[in-house]
């Protein structure tokens, strides 16, 4: 084995008060572990369910149908001139990713305590793997969306090139919130009961079922403090050609980055106590 390379490595164990910097080098060195954990989350998710991959299709489609009947038909929710089913589906794409990722990440440490108390590994990877595991579902949902677009005869414009950026932004927001909630849930166990309510409230604060334009223009920028406002609105602009709201997108991007930074640092700060409280 390549022991010559590692023989010089020295580990110093001592108390570290205050905020702890992120060890990027360690994260990079053990990137394979992250890949394994993501792969495990994905394969376990589809092995355990009877429906397997069909689940990833049914869940957003079913939600879309319910929302279309209730909010589109009964409540006559405006949808910026776009057929309500694809309007709401375009919002569900990032929203379902985020809600699954945040929900999974926040439980990830509590449900895998052995990874905290029996072994040392870069613990950031555990919630991060839960977030990454949702990417497959997102891909499947996109496939369904393409079919819907074809059915409604909507042709995306050049805006579609912004989709990778928007997905990245969704990842950033999910990871930030997921890390913070994961750390909080380890310390305060009843947090896990709070999170489902939080996510539900968050959905109504995000323009999943309604367009951002429903909100008076002067409040839109404030609303965009919630990263999902800029992201969902951006998804609609990119895929369905609604007008871009760049100030809101910029605000949401900034807030998503702040959320990630906060999540990372809060996680690092509380990480050293995980083994003691888990």
């Amino acid at each position: 084995m390549n022991q010559i390379a590692t023989v010089s490595s020295e580990t110093i164990i001592r108390p570290r008060p205050g905020w702890i910097a992120i060890d990027w080098r360690e994260l990079w060195d053990s990137r394979e572990l992250l890949a394994f954990l993501v792969w495990r989350d994905i394969s376990v998710r589809y092995k355990q369910t009877v429906l397997g991959l069909a689940w990833a299709i049914l869940q957003p489609v079913f939600t879309m149908l319910v929302f279309t009947v209730i909010f589109g038909n009964l409540a006559q929710m405006p949808s910026q001139g776009i057929p309500y089913p694809i309007f709401v589906y375009a919002g569900l794409l990032p929203w379902m990713f985020l809600s699954t990722a945040v929900g999974g990440a926040s439980q990830s440490l509590v449900s895998q305590q052995a990874l905290l108390t029996k072994i040392y590994l870069p613990r950031l990877f555990v919630p991060a793997a839960s977030v990454g595991g949702g990417l497959v579902d997102l891909g499947v949902s996109f496939g369904v969306f393409a079919i819907l677009m074809a059915y409604y005869g909507v042709v995306p414009g050049w805006g579609v090139l912004a989709v990778p950026f928007l997905i990245l932004l969704t990842l950033v927001a999910s990871l930030g919130v997921g890390l913070a909630l994961a750390a909080l849930t380890v310390t305060y166990r009843d947090f896990r009961y709070v999170i489902p309510f939080m996510i539900q409230a968050w959905m109504y604060l995000s323009p999943v079922i309604y367009p951002v334009t429903l909100v008076p223009a002067k409040w839109q920028l404030l609303l965009a403090v919630n990263p999902m406002v800029g992201i969902i609105d951006g998804f609609r602009s990119a895929l369905l050609g609604t007008p871009w709201n760049l100030p809101a997108l910029a605000m949401s991007t900034a807030c998503a980055c702040v959320a990630l930074l906060f999540g990372l640092f809060y996680f690092r700060k509380t990480e050293r106590r995980f083994a003691d409280v888990a």
Binding site: S9, T11, R40, L121, T187
Partner: protein, 440 residues
């Protein structure tokens, strides 16, 4: 002299034990507590706050380990062994002191950490290997060896939830055994699995330490394993390092309480085997043999009397006193208890001596330790001490044979008589098979 592989300097770990109110395991409690914080601060200033108690799980522990050494860490439950391993494995952070470790570290505090029941054996080998810190191509290169060591070739693509517990443990240990760290930290993992596999694991560990010049830290209650594997041992007691020396020396100290006195027996008031924070109810323990005088060497079949001195705050009704006897490997051999007796003790005074008499079973010669415990009628522990005292069982031709008796032959000696009956002849007391059959 080369620089040490591990050097530990003044390592300590403080836990704050919360009494009743001050434990925020839930967010609601944390919020309540935050609201009450000013009041508590006020009480702390006045020194009337007793809700938090400092508990040093580890304190002032210093030692160094040279590359290639295999060091056993010995101590009773709660002595700080696991805390030490967790700190050295970087799982928990120390409160004070520091440790410097040179080289790649792998720790094995549990067998099969991260195994997922839904995944197949093959998938779990990769996953677990990666969690233990192996690179993908490293696992691929050793995959066949791992599978062969675990003997699970046929079940590689079966989810491990369908594995027998033995197969599960074998596969998990096999992955760990093929790690190639410079420093290996192992906790009690050999306590699982069948005897045959344990032997293979011990062999593999010996190979690891001798072959690669690797440094191994090894926690065990199995003194046989410690003396077989380790070149040195460290005894922890109540979070502190009590002795650092040869395995024989350390095992001896571990098994015989230092406060032993043949006349009065063992002073239990500050016994090291009592969990921290317990009030000392047991005061003394004396072992008396057949002759009635105090002794620590007994023979199979002896009538043994134990005198237990107790001091309680108040008389106790229906006390539940139990005494467990363990062999040198830490296996419980038998137990005697008030509640296992046809005449349970009805009441003990605040200060009293309790006597129990039993016949010593025909145990294999060697050293045995006694655990004592006292609980109230409702089952609440009032005191308990691990390895409160020890005695030796001597070999005295109990079996009437000159052949040596080895531990492998079993834990109890059973005298036997052997008769041979030739098939064609009828001896007294034994009849040919056909006459037995015709009666049926």
């Amino acid at each position: 002299m080369t620089s040490p592989a591990i050097s530990v300097e003044g390592l300590g770990k403080l836990y704050q034990l919360a009494h009743q109110s001050d434990r925020h395991t839930s967010f609601r409690e944390a919020l309540t507590s935050m609201a009450l914080a000013p009041l508590r601060r006020f009480r702390q200033l006045r020194g009337t706050d007793t809700s938090m108690e400092d508990f040093w799980a580890l304190r002032d522990v210093s030692f160094t380990v040279q590359p290639g050494e295999v060091v056993g860490i010995v101590g009773r439950n709660g002595a700080g062994k696991s805390t030490l391993l967790k700190i050295l494995s970087r799982i928990a952070e120390p409160t004070e002191g520091r440790a410097v470790m040179k080289g790649r570290i792998a720790s094995l505090l549990e067998v099969g950490t991260g195994f997922h029941p839904e995944l197949s054996g093959r998938e779990n080998v990769y996953l677990n290997g990666s969690i233990l810190g192996m690179k993908r191509r490293e696992i691929a290169a050793k995959f066949d060896d791992i599978v062969a060591f675990a003997e699970v070739e046929k079940f590689l693509d079966t989810p491990v939830k369908r594995y027998s517990s033995g197969m599960y443990v074998r596969l998990a240990f096999a992955v760990a055994a093929h790690l190639e760290p410079e420093i290996l930290i192992v906790d009690e993992v050999l306590a699982v699995g069948d005897a045959e596999f344990q032997k293979r694991c011990l062999g593999k560990m010996k190979e690891i330490s001798e072959g690669g010049g690797r440094t191994v830290l090894f926690v065990s209650h199995n003194m046989a394993a410690v003396s077989a594997l380790c070149s040195r041992a460290v005894l922890l007691s109540k979070g502190r390092l009590e002795l650092d020396g040869s395995p024989t020396e350390v095992i001896q100290r571990y098994l015989i309480p230092a406060s032993f006195d043949a006349g009065t027996g063992v002073d239990l008031r500050s016994a090291p085997g009592r969990p921290a924070g317990h009030v000392a109810v047991f005061q003394s323990l004396r072992i008396r043999g057949a002759s009635g005088s105090a002794m620590t060497s007994l023979l199979p079949g002896d009538t043994v009397t134990l005198d237990l001195g107790l001091a309680l705050a108040a008389p106790l009704r229906s006390p539940r006193i139990g005494i467990g006897v363990n062999n040198a490997r830490g296996d419980r051999i038998f137990a005697v208890a008030t509640y296992l007796s046809p005449q349970p003790v009805e009441r003990i005074d605040a200060v009293s001596t309790v006597q129990v008499t039993f016949t010593l079973p025909p145990l294999y010669p060697g050293r045995y330790t006694l655990d004592v415990s006292l609980s109230a009628e409702d089952g609440n522990f009032m005191d308990q001490i691990e390895s409160a005292a020890a005695f030796d069982v001597l070999q005295d031709g109990f079996l009437g044979s000159t052949h040596p008796y080895f531990p492998e032959m079993g834990m109890v000696l059973v005298p036997s008589e052997w008769h041979v009956t030739a098939a064609s002849r009828v001896d007294s007391g034994a009849r040919p098979v056909d006459s037995l059959l015709s009666e049926a």
